[in-house]
Symmetry: D2
Subunit: 450 residues, 4 copies
């Protein structure tokens, strides 16, 4: 058996490739499926099955692509109406070589959530591992809020049953392979450590509260956010109608003049550089989301369908950035600025700039009551107060809550370190705020000012 | 015969690898010789000979490394006193397989300059190509000023003879392989096109002035600069005593606190990011030389022996940057800031910032007579006036001419596009100038303001 | 200007990629166009033009793929009726950045043959290089026999005119970039050296006979072979109807049992290992063409449309082998034996074996008059007699001339070194010859027996 | 925490790299340490500690190389007299970032065997994983025979205590990371599956016999082999005096004539191709060990210090093969045959050949009583009888038991599939046996003859 975990950064998505006896299974493939095709090639294996743990909402799944490109059969739950693939139910199993994947129905995160047990039948039919999708993570359990307020409690009860009556009984020694790692929006407390077992989680996972009522109370009170881009993901993943690309499409390079034309025609410029570079100079009107944050924040800021022009970080490949966007359903990249931001400035065009502040400079401005401090972190981070008296608007909500930000004085955008602060500052700048600062280091720097 | 041209960016250095019959020759290897060792491995060849066209001054040659690591014999001129290798003279030749390299003495750039003719003796003994070192470039001829004013004319006469009595007589159809391409400090007008022949140069190279007096006059009037780092290069390349590294040494990662300690201990921070990022935030006191400019400008700014700490561009590898420094003799890199500049800001430390300007903003400040404009381009670029009334100090001279820059008002540093402007601005900032701007786009933007 | 020569081994095909100012031109792209797309990506360039020197016959051109995948415009001659692209004529030119490609009509190899001159107009409009297609090679000139006996002389006269009145007048210093290098079937004497100029060829190319009658006599007497696979290439390249693949299609792995089934269904097994391995054990009935010889010899042996199963060499990737077949129009690869030949033997199946001989062993058998020696080299190689008294049948003709080979005694297949000897031996073995040997080392070993 | 398992094929050795907070730990590094240096570079981490689970005997450890090249501190047990590094004892711990490695003394495989527990102290001080060295494997337990007959039982008792009183009590949920995977000589029944937990092993590992006497009986009856090359490994690993290479040394290419000279001078030719290729033609006197078997079988066949010349498989890199040899202490590779075996045959030299047989052919020869069948499998494989009546000599013992093989008739060498059969056949051939066959497919083919 050859086993590979494929981690997709940004969305912190974990998919799995298992090959045995010339055949392979992929669990929850991402949309850019070249990685699985390449693994299959290296292993001399045909991808026979794609197993979906549930209708994912935070990324576009690559099942139909693997069906089209490799002839795989897609397996998922019958509990909701998928418009593609084959429904399986508890007790079903598929086999490649001597590797057996068995189906467990583990609703709670969603109604159709499945887990898949993994056994090497040449040794024993008892599973040594389980793919839990979004039911159980390392250090966390799946969110239960996606169906709305009214369903939260029911889902939490379902999840408790799935965890304590389906998963944990598999045995302490069973290894845990969830669909997400640390940083995912599908579980806020997922551990940085990827490796675990049911036994270690049983003892150390704070979200594995055995007492039902306490569990339900905890789950229903968890603060979770729902980025608007989930809608396209849910539709694509249920209908199976995401456009299929055999390889990541590479948008064309554009001259500064062509970028200007695209912007006039309605395109949005996404500047994927770090916020310091954006502060030093950028295309006026561009939105700054650093490359590492695109998968988490683009979906809050930009409607699917908006034509996008990219400004790339130094040394970054256009394919790498486009790949990130493809995973979350942004296929409408019309080009990228050839030569990077500098080709814009060298073309003699107007350059946007915003200010940056370190802690000492911020304190001075605060003492002089010269600025509004805008804290764009998530609500769950606010308890850790940091800068006192800050106006608090989560960065994902900022575009529609701009009128709550006073225009009478300069605004200092801040977050935990300065990345989302940069997004916030760019949102303000592109909406006409004239004096905007990004507080470099944010809450982290505030606490350890040196 | 397998033939490879190896281009070393930054110093625009061209070296050549030729393998035939299981043996190989390298012409003018750079100090980081892994590329030649790897080519030899791929070709199943032993590197038998290293041929030096002259004692190079702009980079550290890798001859002794190839001798130590691959057992190669080093061949160079006997006209100066090399402390290693074997002296060859006109008419000598070496052979690998059926490939023959013949020696031509072609002084002028330096007294010991050699060219090497290349023939495939399985076809004919007539050479089909010639390695001209720094005698003849594509679109230019070698500088003759390195021995100082008194020798310029003599060298120019020697070079004329080498060009017209040694090289061109080889025949119009002979291909030209010089030691440098466009961007080298060894010839200011080298063409962007790498490929040429003696015949094409004879017709189109403006520096191939046939009339002797006109040639000498032209050569002796060429403006050339001599970066201080040449001294170590010349010594190493003559004595053959450059320290030998089997692979590029990788300096250790440092925490912000360790960087601060190193700086207190006398280390200089080199920030290799683009100037926009440096403008948005940097370690106070750091010198900003963008990665692509390190090989051309570090040698003006930093004495060999100074301990260096690197701040790397996003996505850049520490090995790539250290490799560049190794080529020009900077072995004293004591570490790099782990996690990039942001780890500094997130550690709650003071952040330096400089301003940036686009053309409209600069014009406004100039109209208000609020600023001094400092043009840091090379003297040869000043004829193309760009911003009128600017104070002109070449960036390489700036550190020792700082007292010529007025401190009474903000200074706007500018160059052709903004890279060297960024170096200049960082020099000013680290020497206490309080209000410093980098004019983004520089002369290029000025001319095509939109 | 960024210039790249892309060499396709086996067919010894040279294509060229030139990027300037964000746009690119490809000369004579091969069918697997990923290499050009990747170069364009690296350069930040859009492929604007594809220039075809002629309707190539020895490989499938990638023009329509680059049109479909990158939006390129295809340019070729109007002298024959291409069913795609745009016709250009002498004096026309296209430009990307400051790079200009000018059209020269240089018939002779074919009626529609074009050459393209290359100039950097930022320096001069005079070209510094020329792409000559199959008109002029390094060390050879294009074959003129493709239209048959009746047209040979006319084409030779045309070619003479193209060479001496169009190409050489461009000037001795002009660099030469032909469509093929050493080993191509498009010119038997092409030099192993890739680099040349018109001037060097004028002096040293033995096929550049200036005297017209002597030239025509020489050309019309050249021995050339026409592999049957040319037919599909000519049709595809004229109609532009080769199926387009965004990436090299990778056939599925097959178990020994599946291979046996495919063979029963009419598939042919191509064993791409070296002949020693084939001799030691192979699938009965398989044809042995070593990987490096597939592009030159598969087209003689196998009709387009025949289903093919591959047996891969150790360490070789299925993609690499499939890529070779794709270039010469063999799209019908139905799979490859998973695990290599050994999975066949380990499955308990019948194994084919042939003998091998060194020179001493061959001499002994010849002395004993025990064997027929079959020399499968090309007619042009027979003058170099090697083994006296050998029966001579070119390997490409062997399948249809099998009845000329005596069955009464063992047959020793031989060539120059043993690769084609291996093909020949496998042809005999799969057609029922029971005692077959491959003479390892062939004519080369014979001459230097130690 | 960044965690990587590094698998060294052939020796089936698993080492581990853990980085946290800019520092890293390596567990049981192999001698070619470039992989760890590269991981450290990628992670921006300094390698602080090397942890040795025991004095390894089956490969040369890279601890002193990592000390020399990266400044790491080496930690091992004090139970034997290591001539380098720092002794640690139960209860000691080292920490990088929040990752803590704790020391457990787990003797049994050897007296000085340690295990290291792994905890992420930012979560809990309880370990989530344990590095067990050669105490506990997935599906097996460490061998206890290395000190000889007299110590076997004592070691087995110690191991039982280590397993049941030290390791299993860590908890069922603790993940298991041993020093070897399937195919290692350090445990004959190691599972093909790399992933496990203490709990899964407790339930399913047949060698985890809880009852002490039964355990001791089982362990002392296990058949294990001790290859002679272990001696140098043990010495190097105890004294820490293995020569240090910053990178894998690449031996020079040799012409056929040079190979012949080396052989006359006492060098042994190791032919690393598959046995079919060796059968079809080889250098007379060469020993055939296929590349994948070098680390397991070279150490039986060749004394350390013997000069070695390599014949490489098609497409294999000399670095890859030399790397394998470096790991098991064979530093005396004096070169490799340039151009592969074919350059030997093409040079007109004598070629060795052996026969191959499939099952049908073998049966025919056996019926005719024409051959001796020699089964070179390990004693533990003989119970699975396969070919009845075969002479049984383990391939590793063959060189010193050659006189047991009858010379009066042809010998058919066989193993499980044909690789070791090929080794055996080459041993016979190089010692003067004239008619030698390799039975392709061996016991596997015999059982499923088709």
């Amino acid at each position: 058996m050859r086993f590979e975990r494929i981690v997709s950064d940004g969305i912190a998505h974990h998919s799995y490739f298992i090959a045995d006896g010339g055949e392979a299974i992929v669990i929850d493939p991402r949309r850019d499926v070249d990685v699985y095709l390449e693994l299959a090639r290296q292993q001399g294996a045909r991808i026979r099955f794609v197993c979906e743990t549930h209708r994912n909402e935070d990324y576009a799944i690559g099942s139909t692509a693997l069906k089209a490109l490799a002839g795989a059969e897609i397996l998922h739950s019958g509990a909701i109406d998928f418009e593609y693939g084959t429904a399986v139910r508890e007790g079903d199993a598929v086999k490649v070589g001597s590797t057996r994947l068995g189906v467990l129905e583990t609703p709670g995160h969603t109604d159709e959530s499945l887990s898949f047990t993994l056994a090497d039948t040449s040794e024993t039919d008892d599973p040594f591992a389980v793919f839990t999708g979004d039911a159980l993570f390392v250090g966390d359990t799946g969110r239960t809020d996606l169906y709305g307020e009214d369903e939260k409690e029911r889902l939490a009860r379902d999840l408790h049953q799935s965890l304590f009556e389906k998963l944990l009984p598999l045995g302490d020694g069973v290894l845990l392979f969830p669909a997400h790692g640390s940083g995912s929006v599908c579980g806020g407390d997922i551990s940085d450590r990827d490796m675990s077992s049911l036994g270690f989680e049983r003892l150390h996972n704070a979200k594995l509260e055995a007492e039902l009522d306490a569990f339900v109370k905890m789950k229903t009170q968890e603060p979770h956010l729902v980025p608007p881009y989930f809608r396209r993901m849910e539709e694509w993943n249920q209908k199976g109608n995401a456009p299929i690309h055999a390889r990541v499409p590479v948008p064309p390079p554009l001259s500064p003049g062509e970028v200007a034309e695209r912007v006039e025609g309605g395109a949005l410029v996404i500047d994927a550089r770090l916020p310091q570079a954006y502060a030093g100079g950028h295309i006026p009107g561009s939105l700054n989301i650093w490359q590492g944050g695109l998968s988490a924040y683009l979906g809050w800021m930009v409607e699917h369908g908006t034509p996008i022009v990219l400004v790339l970080p130094e040394h970054a490949s256009v394919e790498a950035v486009t790949r990130i966007l493809m995973r979350i359903g942004y296929d409408e990249v019309v080009g990228y600025l050839r030569g990077g931001f500098e080709s814009w400035q060298n073309d003699g065009r107007l350059v946007g700039r915003i200010g940056t502040l370190d802690t000492r400079a911020l304190r001075a401005k605060m003492r002089a009551k010269e600025v509004t401090v805008l804290d764009v972190r998530k609500p769950s981070e606010w308890e850790d107060e940091a800068v006192e008296g800050a106006l608090r608007i989560f960065v994902g909500d900022l575009p529609k809550r701009l009128d709550e930000v006073p225009k009478d004085r300069p605004v200092v955008s801040m977050c935990a370190v300065g990345h989302r602060g940069g997004i916030g500052a760019s949102v303000l700048a592109r909406h006409g705020f004239e004096a905007v600062y990004n507080y470099l280091g944010g809450a982290k720097a505030w606490k350890q000012e040196q």
